[in-house]
Symmetry: C2
């Protein structure tokens, strides 16, 4: 064999090794290049927090029951004072009930146009005693914020419409949903797939930030 | 030139092309293989919501002022009733102040061991009038939950320790931080880089979920 032929053999061998490397690199890149697939179809947290918007118009697309349960699961992951978890969640996807709520409570009128809604309630039978009882408001508010972020993360849109402490609204919801006396609705969050564009507000204000004292 | 030499020239040319491809693929993979870098150091939202834990022990590592501001920015992104944004945020990273708070409020004792803390306050001068005033509690609770999720997302840990409505705790915080009368501290969230392991609780309970009525 002359030198040229030896070189041929060496070059072919190196070529084979390199070709294998190129193909395997390409496969790695394909699975890694889209962070959405890597992080289970979920958007980044700071991005979701900053870009959450109040969505009041929805398409006619239904929201799957599994998705509604995932949203409520996020609510239950909130912290609560003394870990009392003094909450209950009513998932409403019955069009007649949504229509009744939306018609009777003007500030929740978008419920009539929403394919679903979640009513976040305080459960006084699980709350603390005496002055500790009112922590249900803070706990259920934290759960509501988790719900809004989960809604955003899942490509849906919703809006926190207040029920508590408006006595008339509490009465309407309690009647429509047959709530017992110890269950106090904090809000209803109508939700669905967003129709139209909603631009997030930039609410940053340096005047709201103080270092170490007022 | 004999055939062997021609083949060598061709092989070397192909080798050069392949080598360039290998190097460029490797660079693509390096930037794409870690979703943390792709999505701006942020974890997936549902994951952060589910795995947030109350962190009460911290390493001695300081928290950069830019990170503390990012956390407070997340707080300000919360929704508020009638968009009043009735909140103020006191960022505390002065060790003496943290020590004073932790010593005087037993339920916030971990503030003594934390490199920083955020005091979320209601601002009654921005709140609604009459019965609408108390919405600051819900609004500041939503902001607090955003803060806890941002803390988790950034690799830090914190814990919501309650101040309002405990009159004695409100008085201590108001004195230490020189708060005017219209500023009501809802909580202090001591935070830092977590020391030790903290396992998230699974708080899912099917009994808390109701469909369409109680």
């Amino acid at each position: 064999m002359n030198k040229s032929k030896v070189l041929n053999v060496v070059l072919v061998a190196v070529l084979i090794v390199l070709s294998v490397k190129v193909v395997s690199n390409r496969e790695n890149t394909a699975s890694a290049q889209n962070p959405q697939t890597v992080v289970q179809s979920s958007r980044a947290t700071l991005d979701v927090i900053a870009n959450r918007v109040s969505v009041r118009e929805y398409t006619e697309q239904k929201v799957a029951k599994e998705i509604l349960e995932t949203i409520v699961r996020a609510g239950m992951a909130a912290p609560s004072a003394m870990n009392k978890q003094p909450w209950q969640f009513i998932i409403v996807d019955d069009a007649d009930i949504l229509k009744a709520i939306g018609e009777k409570i003007p500030t929740s009128s978008m419920a009539q146009r929403a394919p679903a809604g979640i009513v976040v309630c305080g459960d006084l039978s699980k709350a603390g005693q005496g002055w500790l009882e009112e922590y249900w408001i803070q706990d259920c508010s934290a759960a509501s914020q988790n719900i809004l972020l989960a809604v955003t993360d899942l490509g849906l849109g919703g809006v926190w419409t207040s029920i508590y402490p408006a006595e008339d609204r509490i009465k309407v919801i309690a009647e429509i949903l047959s709530l017992p006396d110890h269950i106090i609705p904090l809000n209803i969050i109508p939700l669905g797939y967003p129709a139209g564009e909603n631009k997030p507000k930039d609410k940053w204000s340096a005047e709201n930030v103080h270092w170490n004292r007022w």
